[in-house]
């Protein structure tokens, strides 16, 4: 996730994205229903710092917040 051009586009391949899907599924189960929100919040902070670009994070928050139901 080194490309920070102000969008959510990264160079992560679909195959890697699939691995992330599985890793997160297992991590959410490991955290358990009481703590999964806290786990995901911590993860977002860590990844936001790695991205190093506030605009990208703000755009991500907006996209994730849309169609939330």
């Amino acid at each position: 996730m080194s490309e920070t051009n102000g969008t959510l586009n990264t160079s992560l391949s679909f195959e890697d994205l699939e691995k992330v899907y599985d890793l997160l599924a297992v991590a959410i189960d490991t955290a358990g229903p009481d703590k999964e929100t806290l786990f995901l919040a911590k993860l977002c902070l860590i990844l936001a710092r790695e991205i190093g670009d506030l605009a990208s994070v703000q755009k991500g928050i907006a996209t994730a917040g849309a169609d939330l139901n």
Binding site: L17, Y21, A25, A27, D29, P33, E36, T63, A64, N69
Partner: protein, 566 residues
């Protein structure tokens, strides 16, 4: 199950035949040993019997039923399977009846989020996928088998109840309406399905996982105007907590699958009134306002189970008898055909004396390898279709919601349809360092790709019974050392033949030449002047050379027949 008042074989559109029992020679005191017995006249057993017959090997095909398919209900037949059906000489019958398709649509909360487009071009002889009911699949194969009347001894109402794997032969106990008899055979192909009695008789067990998630599948007849496409619905209004699949079949029959909620009881879910209510809700969602009739329904759970070894002495397991796979990705029937072809050509070479019994050792390596690959892919599909835990359920919801607006998330909804397995690690595949000299083309171990032939038809129309050498040539003539090589290869495999692919017409009497004026075959195979592909009888590439090397090609053919260094 059928609606109340209709018998198990009372279909709205299909007339089930009734096959008589005929007393076999064994019941008149004869005890001649057969070369191959095939147990189970489903699609897989029938395909194996036809392939053996085509190769001049007689067999006895036994089935306990007195009619065609009344069990599983496969509907999707892949392009690769059509290429197999073409080899079996029965593809035209299928093509006339089946509904071909290339596209699919995936909906989340009844909004379109993904458009599936399967690879297809005018260079392909067949479409990527066809829908046809299993009854027709079996009917057409049984008709084809009947054309080999002197080669295939098809015995209905004959159940294999016991098997003894002995030295030099296998002895079957066959139960018939007129009593039992013993049948002796050199080999047995066990194609007796998911509940294989032969598997149990030999004390073998399937190992693997039972996946969560139960589906009801129902066939309905209705006049419904929608193209032949795969439609999948997540969190639809018609089944808010779980998924729905819809497929079109010939004769105005539509297949509807819906997942049961964890709280639903199976016996309630399959009660006729509940099935009708659920189908009506789904049809309302599809916008079908007209009448419909219920044809048949059933319930299933997804499993990834297989035998540790597909060969036990003189018994080879093929199809569902060897492995049970989830339906997502349509791999049950299609992989079963591949099992049948793999087992049949190898057995034929062993029985012909052109290969030793060691050739059969590669059957498990290749076909169990294919099963495990299916498990990896179908496992992913199943985890998406039926999330096994809360974590997977959250992730699926996340990508489905994102897919409404975000392109990157849409591919998660791809159904991961079946693709032929690559036998790259097989003991029959050789010269991998030559394989790596290519940039592109068809990798060693992969299934050959069909392309248009300039002088009519398609590349795969030119396959024969044996191994095939594809020699790519850009000069005026085929070099004499290649012609000599062809003769030496025919000494190893009497059915071997050479096929030259040339950009222009060649004056060459001894060799069949495909004129590839537009270079489509050259491109697909990443070939240039002097390139050589060695194709197995089942269309897989045994080995390939960017520049043909006679000594290596001869050796590769011996290796592909498990004959060791030539």
């Amino acid at each position: 199950m059928r609606p109340a008042g209709r018998g198990e074989l009372e279909s709205l559109y299909f007339s089930y035949p009734k096959f008589d029992f005929v007393r076999p020679p064994e019941m008149a005191g004869e005890s001649d040993r057969h070369r191959v017995a095939v147990a189970g006249a489903g699609p897989v057993g029938l395909a194996a019997a036809i392939e053996l017959a085509r190769r001049g090997i007689r067999c006895v095909l036994l089935d306990e039923k007195d009619t065609l398919n009344n069990g599983s209900r496969a509907i999707c037949v892949s392009r690769n399977s059509f290429e197999t059906l073409q080899q079996l000489g029965v593809a035209a019958r299928f093509e006339n009846k089946a509904l071909g398709w290339t596209r699919g649509r995936c909906y989340y909360r009844d909004k379109l989020i993904y458009r599936l487009e399967m690879p297809h071009s005018d260079q392909d002889r067949y479409l990527p996928m066809y829908n046809i009911q299993q009854q027709y699949i079996e009917q057409y194969l049984a008709e084809r088998a009947a054309e080999f009347a002197d080669m295939i001894d098809l015995r209905w109402q004959s159940a294999v109840t016991d098997v003894a794997n002995g030295e030099g032969e296998v002895r079957l106990t066959v139960a018939t309406p007129e009593g039992e008899y013993v049948l002796r055979s050199d080999y047995l192909l066990a194609a007796d399905g998911a509940a294989s009695r032969i598997r149990k008789t030999l004390g073998l067990r399937l190992a693997g996982e039972n996946l969560p998630g139960r589906y009801v599948i129902a066939d309905v007849r209705m006049d419904h105007d929608f193209p032949t496409e795969r439609r999948s619905f997540f969190e639809s209004e018609a089944n808010p907590e779980s998924t729905i699949l819809v497929h079109r079949q010939p004769d105005d029959i539509w297949r509807v699958d819906w997942q049961l909620r964890p709280s639903e009881q199976a016996d309630e879910a399959i009660a006729e009134d509940n099935v009708r209510a659920r189908v009506q809700a789904i049809l309302n969602m599809l916008g079908h306002a007209g009448p419909w009739e219920l044809e048949w329904w059933s319930i299933y759970t997804a499993n990834t189970l297989c035998l540790d070894d597909y060969r036990h002495g003189r018994v080879l397991f093929i199809g569902d008898a060897a492995h049970i796979v989830p339906i997502f990705g349509v791999r049950g029937l299609n992989n079963g055909f591949d099992d049948a072809m793999n087992a049949a050509w190898k057995l034929a070479y062993v029985l012909d004396g052109q290969a030793g019994e060691e050739l059969l050792d590669s059957f498990t390596a290749e076909r169990r390898g294919a099963t495990l690959d299916v498990f990896r892919n179908a496992g992913k599909s199943s985890r998406f279709m039926t999330p096994p835990t809360r974590g997977y359920a959250v992730m699926r919801k996340a990508v489905l919601q994102l897919a409404l607006t975000q392109e990157f998330a849409r591919r998660f909804a791809d159904p991961r349809q079946v693709v032929p397995y690559t036998y790259s690690g097989s003991p029959l595949t050789s010269y991998r360092h030559r394989d790596r000299e290519f940039t592109g083309g068809i990798k060693a171990g992969s299934a050959a790709m069909n392309r248009k032939a300039g002088n009519g038809g398609f590349l795969l129309d030119y396959l024969g019974l044996g191994f095939k050498g594809l020699y790519f040539v850009e000069r005026e003539t085929i070099p004499s050392d290649i012609l000599k090589l062809s003769g030496r290869l025919a000494a190893i495999d009497s059915n071997f033949s050479l096929l030259a692919i040339s950009r222009k017409s060649l004056l060459q009497n001894a060799v069949t030449v495909i004129v590839d004026g537009e270079g489509r075959i050259f491109d697909a195979y990443a070939a240039n002047d002097g390139s050589f592909y060695l194709l197995r009888p089942d269309r897989h590439v045994a080995a390939r050379w960017l520049a043909a090397r006679a000594d290596e090609i001869e050796d590769a053919l011996s290796t592909a027949l498990s004959r060791g260094k030539g």
